[in-house]
């Protein structure tokens, strides 16, 4: 029987199963699940409500920022400033509330700070043409310094009249006993996933990462979209800062130090490619989960905490190596 042109055109080369099996995110998710199963049997302390509550909550701060970071990485950029932006946004929230303003004003000031920083990044990168690495490296230094200036480098732990509201926001569990930060993470992940898959904005984010020149020629507003993704990245750091402040109940100028590397690691383990064009919201979550499970399990298994860096670094290299080997095999066919 002859195969017509229409049949060829309508043929689907990949069904959903092969595309799931072909994704790095899927295999990292399997690794997370296997690790959890192993730890449940190997230790008494892993599969306890308290430990799982701790793990899920600890994941959230890295995961929320990794969502924003994933967008930036998909466009082929990078944002090194997120740890410092988290610190500055927390500090702005703390200082404003400490001065006696209510929580709404504190959060508004904090989010406005995040958006302003992101807009500056985007303008310098997209319109002036500075490299993202350098611009955000500058902010890494500037934002933490500003946090020290704003607070006089002291610990802020009294948040004025709305003190209890803030602590409930970050430390409570309003729904089915799930920690609030986890709920925020799930909502933000669903939102990010929706935007990437179903909106024109999301499509253009991928296009810019795939071929920026082509995107420009076909009429994609490349510069505006770049400004938007850096604003979203800073915003995600700001949101994580607000939640973390409520959870910790105190802010020092050290919080978020080195966080950018964990966040980038989470995004990359979850399948985002630093060369741009590839990444998903689910990947950011799964990557963050793997890092946290590794950290948690080392403690429970009684392995010296000094080894943590080796395991996390190994996971990064292994995830990317695995993906590389899979691609090599595909291009051989």
């Amino acid at each position: 029987m002859a195969i017509t042109l229409d049949q060829t055109i309508n043929q689907r080369q990949h069904n959903w199963l092969s595309s799931v099996l072909g994704s790095q995110t899927f295999w990292v998710l399997i690794a997370v699940i296997l690790a959890c199963i192993f730890l449940s049997f190997a230790t008494d302390s892993f599969a306890t409500t308290k430990n799982l509550y701790n793990i899920t909550r600890n994941v959230t701060f890295v995961a929320i920022i990794a969502l924003g970071m994933t967008l930036v990485i998909i466009t082929g950029g990078i944002d090194l400033s997120v740890g410092s932006v988290l610190c500055l946004c927390s500090m702005i929230l703390g200082v404003v509330m400490h001065a006696g303003y209510n929580i709404e004003i504190g959060i508004a000031a904090s989010i406005a700070t995040a958006l302003a920083i992101g807009a500056c990044h985007g303008i310098l990168i997209a319109y002036i043409g500075m490299p993202p690495f350098v611009v955000t490296l500058g902010t890494l230094s500037i934002a933490r310094s500003l946090a020290m200036v704003a607070s006089g480098n002291t610990v802020v732990f009294q948040f004025g009249p709305d003190h209890d509201k803030l602590l409930a926001l970050g430390g409570g569990a309003w729904f089915l006993g799930i920690a609030n930060p986890v709920l925020y993470m799930i909502v933000l992940a669903l939102l990010t996933g929706f935007v990437l898959r179903w909106t024109r904005f999301g499509r253009h984010v991928y296009a810019i990462g795939g071929n920026e020149h082509a995107a420009t020629l076909t009429g994609v507003p490349v510069r505006l979209i770049k400004v938007a993704v850096y604003m979203i990245s800073s915003l995600s750091a700001g949101i994580a800062g607000i939640i973390q402040t409520g959870w910790l109940g105190a802010i020092t100028t050290n919080i978020g130090t080195g966080l950018e590397l964990q966040v980038i690691a989470a995004a990359v383990i979850g399948g985002a490619a630093l060369a741009g064009g590839v990444g998903t919201a689910l990947g950011a979550l799964v990557g963050a989960a793997l890092i946290e499970v590794i950290r948690n399990s080392l403690g429970l298994l009684g392995i010296n905490a000094f080894w943590q860096g080796c395991f996390i670094g190994g996971a990064i290299l292994f995830a990317v190596l695995f993906d590389r080997l899979r691609n090599l095999r595909q291009s051989d066919n």
Binding site: T8, I9, H14, R203, Y206, A214, T218
Partner: protein, 247 residues
């Protein structure tokens, strides 16, 4: 009536005269080969028609009305579609996503509008069928052959009612079999009444598919002949300067 008319077009960059007093007109459904050595001014001329540069002197007319463009997107609005030499494709996206890049179909109502995957796949499939190209809308462009990539780039020009398609070296980097595919795609456009300007270094392709050939040398138009009235030897002579100029 001519769909596009260039009248005494010149372009200089500082002291460099890239295009010097060029005039020609193209009819609907005509394929014009634009030939010339590197630096002859072909690219500059094409970039003016594509809306990348404004001409220094002269006027362009489209369907008799003066054509003024400020940026590449304006060209598209006037019915001029460009297939770039590097094709301007995103390897990480599907064929359909590339075809609709910048012009995505959406559905929904009010402010909530989501991408209409089903219709984009369907429409892209129809265009590939029209172009008689075995290209699957859902496949990633990364995995495609040179001919399929060309089909994706050319399919873009079929989304709107294009009057002119500019093709910059469409056969420069692909295999012999794929060249035949691309030339068929060009005939296909012609049969639908679209004027095609084919910029090429490859003499056999131009003589195979074009109705007319325009030769440029050092910024000037040195020949504008119908394919039947010239020969590859003559065109080569015109390109290199062995033959000075034809009236």
């Amino acid at each position: 009536m001519a769909v596009l008319e260039l009248i005494n077009i010149s372009k200089h960059f500082g002291a460099i005269q890239a295009v010097n007093d060029v005039s020609f007109a193209i009819e609907p459904g005509q394929v014009v080969g634009l030939m010339g050595d590197n630096g002859a001014g072909k690219s500059t001329l094409v970039k003016m028609i594509a809306g990348n540069f404004r001409q220094s002197e002269g006027t362009m007319r489209m369907d008799g009305a003066e054509l003024i463009m400020h940026k590449p997107i304006d060209a598209r609005q006037h019915g001029i579609e460009i297939v770039y030499q590097d094709l301007a494709l995103c390897d990480n996206l599907s064929a359909a996503a590339n075809v609709f890049l910048g012009r995505e179909l959406r559905r929904g109502f009010g402010p909530i509008r989501i991408l209409d995957y089903a219709n984009m796949y369907k429409r892209a499939g129809q265009i590939f069928a029209e172009l008689k190209s075995e290209t699957r809308p859902r496949d990633l462009v990364k995995q495609m052959s040179g001919g399929q990539r060309q089909a994706v780039a050319i399919a873009r020009t079929r989304l709107s009612e294009a009057k002119i398609v500019l093709m910059d070296e469409p056969t420069a980097a692909i295999s012999v079999r794929q060249v035949a595919e691309v030339l068929n795609l060009i005939r296909n456009l012609r049969d639908q009444g679209i004027a095609v300007i084919l910029i090429s270094h490859r003499m056999p392709d131009v003589f195979d598919v074009a109705d007319r050939v325009i030769v440029m040398r050092r910024g000037r138009k040195v020949a504008d002949k119908s394919i039947g009235a010239t020969s590859p030897e003559e065109v080569t002579g015109l390109i290199t300067g062995a033959i000075e100029q034809l009236a």
